[in-house]
Amino acid sequence: MNSSKTQFAELQQTDELEQTWKEPKGFLGSLAVVGHKEIGKRYIVTAFIFLLLGGLEALLMRLQLAFPENTFLDPGRYNQIFTTHGTTMMFLFAVPVMEGMGIYLVPLMVGTRNVAFPRLNAFGYWMYLAGGLFLYAGTFFHALPDAGWFAYPPLSGPQFSPGKGVDVWAQMITFTEVSALCVAVELIVTILRMRAPGMTLNRIPMFCWSMLVQSFMIIFAMPAVMIASSVMLLNDRTIGTHFVNPAEGGDPLLYQHIFWFFGHPEVYIIFLPALGMVSSMIETFSRRHLFGYPALVLALVANGFLAFGLWVHHMFATGLPQVGEAYFTAASMMIAITSGVQIFCWLATLCTGRLRTTTALHFVFGFIFIFVLGGLTGVMVASIPFDLQAHDTYFVVAHFHYVLIGGALFPLFGGFHYWFPKFTGRLMDERLGKCSFWILFVGFNLTFFPMHFLGLGGMPRRVYTYSAGMGWELPNLLATVGALTIAVGGIVFIANVMRSRRHGEIADPNPWEGASLEWEAASPPKSYNFPRLPAVDNLWPAWDDISKRTVIEGLSDDRREILITSLNAAEPHHRHTLPKPSIWPFVTTLGLGIGLTGSVIAFSWYYVAAALGAIGFIGWFWPRRPLEFTS
């Protein structure tokens, strides 16, 4: 009687919500999509494609290096390949994939219906896609960059790198950084102002904390790389400025300072979201509250601050004043504390929980093994005298693949298995999953462990070949075999995804008994995420009795209305209507893309970019009726 009536009302209401929040269909519709789940998925899928491309490039490099004096690739080709490998992995894979996870998960975790600026979000994705296509389009115009992923001048300058490759690289950075900055802005506002009522600062899930800190780091670090690449490098190349030209008072080291002022935070920008994923998975799979939540949050924040104080450790061999050196050694080593505290807290949680050894937890264990090893070699190279030997050798290559792959990719793969049922409504196959884990784990160590010895044995990085008799043959061969093994692991992983997407076991909303709000939404979530927005009163809402959940009433269902809460205590503050789908972000990107592409040829194209961009933005913000509810 009564209950059937309420059920009917509820159905009607979810129908209306669906009408309001559904994303447009069709080709044109797909260009206008602004939903965070759709865009998050696009980020993730695009980034994985770039991982495959970057991985393919890695395989080519490894094949070339398998034997001494190999002639599989000529030197010019090799230089292009390692440059695009590094660039793709850092700018087109690692950062965007983390952004994608954040865009998908954060609104679910904080209990709202979309990110704060949905159109900006769409714009960010288009800019990212444009940047990636722009770089790879260089393949067809003999314009691939070949000066390394940090493109030091004078080598990357007009005199020693003629051609358009480096210009393409520099402007690709502009695209991807604009995208990262958009995501950072909207995630910060989403996390700070759109949390479920009751989700005070100390009830924010760890993953959201990590995205928050990461986003702030992006805001303060990414401008530096835009200055380095598109102001200093590009203008020196195209219009004859003298930022790095010593003959006219410029300085090549200036570029290095500015680049690494970004470059060091960049590696933590990649790494922090991964830490957030690890925290989420450990909490779920050890079935206990995460030990030391305040310490973990503090460690993340401290990591964010400290990361801006150690860029010089990439420049130890340039010959700096000694006082500076002591400071930068100290700072670089101290950052080990923030990682250490997190490792200790996780170990404590794992030791006292009741583990469920899923594939995801396998990846977490793999993460701890590999990342700690890579972190320790990081502490080794933070010691200047030792770094003078290790710098620019395969020891550093080993270090950063340990921390990047171990510290970011393994958690990402784990997270992918963990949230896959949320993304698709189906579970991934555990047997295949564990199988891919072991192949990846063994292949990874086989590839990169020998590189430590190569580095100490004198092999510099970025060499396209080496002579026989240096003692480098065997480790190089092992590394190549390892890389092929990783590829096999990758194929198993892909096969698992493809299979599970269609035939995987159906997942209910909370298959792992996770604690945070995303597990209360349906799997996959409806376009509106939650039929009624939730309110929470602790850090583990999904571990409470869901039927007793406080829900929010009074938001309109016929427009995209959400609740803005106060920054600190997350008290309801006012209602806010989010914009509808729009094609303008795409159009704007198109305009900017044309202008920025032209700018590698002549500076005046910036004016084209500005004009087309302005047209795009005006179209974007032009009021449409009914006026109250547009954006």
Binding site: G76, A147, A247, R288, G319, V379, M380, F386, G471
Partner: protein, 339 residues
């Protein structure tokens, strides 16, 4: 834990005694860095084993199951356990902090010891200039008559400190002889100084460590440490201008050299060849390699190099100079005779 222990040990030995290895120090700086490395390595191993051991414990405890604690309902172990964890975690963090302090102190002290400020008196000063993709070497002396210019090979006396003043002529390179010292970047418009010393005679390979373009891989050089007397002998010989060819074939070779494009780029003291774009060839015959360590210096290799430098070292800045038929052999003989 460590798979493939055997091969690792095998190539470890292989690498450690290779021609170019930071694991086999031959001078005070490399030695100090090697000890620092052992310390860092030892500490890292201990920490790593500790972490992995704890992980193993976590797995093991899972097998046993910890029914004693009411985890299922509250998701929280007993308050007592939490307190214990707090103590353990904070003391581990404190210990880490102490270890890091110690490492900072040791690093800074080692850094002082190997820095240019710790330079003993009576040193030899060598100016090294990086070029795409070869090294120009000048032995400085107050007496300008006694300045030696050579390339891709640095002779040093054992037991005596040698100051390296490094700079670059084009892009950034990095001077690195792992057996003697860490690396130092050679940056255009800047001069970076460091000092090295070999404690025993030997040949130590060095290689450019900063990516510098197409032939970064083939930008090596050799440091040859000899007892002081032998070094002096070498120096005396290098101070001489190039030997005048005595036999007609070599004389002919000299003419070939002087009448072709070679003079535009190469210097041979005592002749009119004074080009600056390529390595000084005054005593080329006494050097052990061709083209920055790319090939051993034999007459066959030299022939290959001169007839087709772009195949030997693709992209390098020496063009293929067309020679009249019959000119090649005399030229080679002449160059090899430049002892």
């Amino acid at each position: 834990m460590r798979r493939c222990t055997l091969p690792f040990l095998f190539f470890l030995a292989n690498i450690a005694f290779g021609q170019q290895s930071a694991l086999d120090p031959a001078g005070p700086q490399a030695g100090r860095i090697r000890s620092l490395e052992s310390l860092l390595f030892g500490i890292s191993v201990v920490i790593f084993v500790g972490v992995i051991g704890t992980l193993a414990v976590a797995l093991f405890r899972r097998r046993r199951g910890i029914q004693q604690e009411p985890l299922e309902s509250t998701h929280r172990p007993s308050a007592q356990t939490e307190r214990k964890l707090l103590v353990v975690v904070s003391s581990l963090s404190a210990v880490s902090l102490l270890i890091l302090f110690a490492l900072i102190v040791v690093s800074v002290v080692t850094g002082r010891e190997i820095s240019i400020k710790s330079l003993p008196r009576d040193s030899l000063v060598v100016e090294v200039t990086g070029n795409q993709w070869w090294w120009s070497v000048r032995y400085l002396d107050d007496n300008t008559q006694r300045i030696i210019v050579t390339a891709n090979e640095i002779h040093i006396p054992t037991g005596r400190p040698v100051v390296i003043k490094g700079t670059s002529h084009d892009v950034i390179h990095s001077f690195w002889v792992p057996n003697l010292h860490g690396k130092r970047d050679l940056i255009p418009s800047r001069v970076n100084t460091e000092w090295i010393q070999a404690d025993r005679p030997g040949r130590f390979r060095g290689q450019c460590a900063e990516f510098c373009g197409l032939q970064h891989a083939h930008m090596a050089f050799w440091v040859i440490a000899e007892p002081p007397a032998q070094f002096e002998a070498w120096r005396r010989q290098q101070l001489q201008p190039a030997a005048e060819p005595s036999d007609p074939v070599r004389l002919r070779g000299q003419q070939v050299f002087l009448n072709n494009a070679c003079v535009l780029c190469h210097t041979i003291q005592g002749t009119t060849a004074a080009g600056q774009n390529g390595p000084d060839l005054t005593h080329f015959g006494s050097r052990q390699t061709i083209a920055a360590g790319t090939l051993p210096n034999t007459i066959g290799n030299l022939g290959g190099w001169i007839t087709d430098p772009q195949t030997v070292k693709p992209g390098n800045h020496m063009p293929q100079v067309p020679l009249a038929p019959g000119d090649e052999q005399p030229l080679l003989a002449y160059l090899e005779g430049l002892k």
